[in-house]
Amino acid sequence: MTTTPENIETVAAESDDRAVAVATRKQVRKEQRRLLFRSPSFIIGTIIIGFWVLSGLWPELLDRFDPKASVPGVSPRTPPGDGTWWGTDRLGRDVYSRVVHGARPILIAAPAATVIAAFFGTLLGLFTGYFRGWVDEIISRILEAILSIPAILLAIVIVFTFGATTPVIIGTIGFLFIPAIARTVRAATLAEAQLDYVTAAQMRGERSLFIIGREIFPNIVGVVIVEVTVRLGYAIFTLATLAFLGLSGGNATDPNWGLDVAQNYQQVVAEVWWPTVFPALAIGTLVIGVNLMADSIDEALKS
């Protein structure tokens, strides 16, 4: 292409436009972040998650006794207050220390599974939503079929078949959450692909990979982030339920919230409520924290 004066001008104008677009996008992002950091939901969510992340990283910093051994001098099933904060369980172990130590397994597995699902789900959603056609039709039907069986049921079946180890549990949940993410990303991609800027890129003769990765993806990042945070909540849900069913990926004596509820809830009728209530509340607060965070991110991106 020869460089004519008009040509230079249009190129210059284009790069000017681009600079303006990038600047406004930056400004929008900054404004969204400001809104996010001031939202009460986000602050509360961060505090809750922050506490559990701290317990997950350095449980020794917060615990009071060995979570796997009985507390010396305190008998089993002692209610909260007498020498321990949250009482002792049927084996005399400190409920508080077990809850603190129980954060790590779920805080490793849930994000790991979510990352796997997010990666493959986003790729699948982008490609099926952009190319459509019969491949999309087939993949969408398969995803639909997987979604038609409750994830927790499929998880039970798969984890039992492959063995209840941590990698299997993470892989299973990661796999089972691909369809939901793919469906959301596909819908967003479909909508984006109708817009003029995509047609323009196609007219310019850009490669499909470039259009998907550099044109469409940046515009649906918000959708992906929100979907991923929501899935993180469901990953915690699924992991806790699997552990409650005895599929924890660890030993039966390891501190694990879902497993601890399972091992203690039958004593609730005998008024021994503390070994059940505290791990249950731990799961509940973690889920609520993630939900609040997901919702505030969604709100900030929508504004």
Binding site: R141, E144, V261, Y265, V277, A280
Partner: protein
């Protein structure tokens, strides 16, 4: 409408076909020998052979699939593995009946409460009431049922005699007694689903209230209740119907935690027990039942939506 129904039915058949393939594939792609894993390392060769046969693993994948298809269409799902002589179908139908009781009772409570909650939140938008409903909805969604169920056990069942710690009433209990036993599980479902359904109803109601046809209706001098009945509800309940349709499979088969904690013999627990005891025929029957319920529920939801909102009929023909 006729074309829509035909297309939608075909879609359901395709989904069912894929589910059948998936169910056939799982034991085949498992690493090692699933039969040995199920029978245990010390199992006798006879038992191992019996397990292999019950899994159908002595046949080719295609044969396994055609066997499964004939089983489904003849409603003959074989015999339970752990309870020889008992047909899978009889076990599945008992659990299905129990789950149906729980789900129907739960929906009869959850739907009106959540829909009214959503409508109120939309109508009183940006008031404290709206904020409470929305934030509760956000916070409580995706809480595991066993967590809520365990907390209700401690807070309600133990201190208050009226509430029961188990959901399964003694044999021969009257209808009202059954309801009494089911109350806490139903409260649990209400807690977990209220916010979810209320939020969706709220969002679509706000869209409907803000649209031109609603303004026109108001300007024509219709009363608020008339506008809601004739114009708003018809449109705003479409997403709610869709959500209930997609969640029905979960309500029937996914509430393992709830059924375990209240000792209720529903489908979820039956499937869990089947997995736990390596009763593969029973497991297959249970998973299939849940998948078919989901298929029928989403089908019903789509047909209701198409009837409520003609525009929705188009989206399927365009392959959304």
């Amino acid at each position: 409408m006729k074309r829509f129904i035909i297309r939608r039915l075909l879609l359901s058949v395709v989904t069912l076909g894929i589910i059948l393939i998936l169910i056939t594939l799982i034991p085949n792609i498992a690493p090692g020998d699933p039969a040995r894993k199920i029978a245990g390392g010390t199992a006798s060769p006879e038992r191992l052979a019996a397990v292999t046969e019950s899994l159908g693993l002595d046949k080719s994948v295609i044969e396994q699939l055609t066997d499964l298809v004939t089983d489904v269409f003849t409603l003959d799902l074989g015999e339970s593995f752990t309870r020889p002589g008992t047909s899978v179908w009889s076990l599945v139908s008992t659990s299905l009946f129990n789950s149906t009781k729980l789900v129907v009772f739960a929906l009869l409570l959850v739907l009106p409460v959540a829909i009214i909650g959503g409508l109120v939140a939309a109508y009183r938008r940006d008031t404290w009431l709206d904020r409470v409903i929305v934030n509760l909805g956000v916070a409580l969604s995706s809480l595991p049922e066993f967590v809520v169920g365990a907390l209700f056990l401690v807070l309600l069942a133990v201190p208050i005699d009226f509430f029961r710690v188990v959901a399964d009433p003694p044999a021969g209990a009257s209808f009202l007694t059954e309801l009494q036993y089911l109350l806490l599980p139903v409260f649990t479902v209400l807690t977990v689903y209220f916010g979810y359904i209320a939020r969706i109803t709220r969002a679509s109601t706000i869209t409907a209230i803000e649209s031109d046809y609603t303004r026109t209706a108001f300007m024509r001098g219709l009363s608020t209740s008339e506008v809601f009945r004739k114009h708003v509800l018809r449109n705003s309940l479409v997403p709610t119907v869709a959500v209930v349709g997609t969640q029905l499979g979960y309500l029937f088969g996914g509430m393992v935690g709830l059924e375990l904690i209240y000792n209720y013999p529903g489908l979820g627990r039956m499937i869990f027990d089947a997995v736990d005891s390596a009763d593969y025929p029973l497991l297959r029957g249970g998973v299939l039942t849940v998948a078919i319920i989901y298929m029928l529920a989403t089908l019903a939801a789509d047909l209701i939506i198409a009837w409520m909102n003609p525009r929705a009929r188009l989206s399927l023909s365009e392959g959304s």
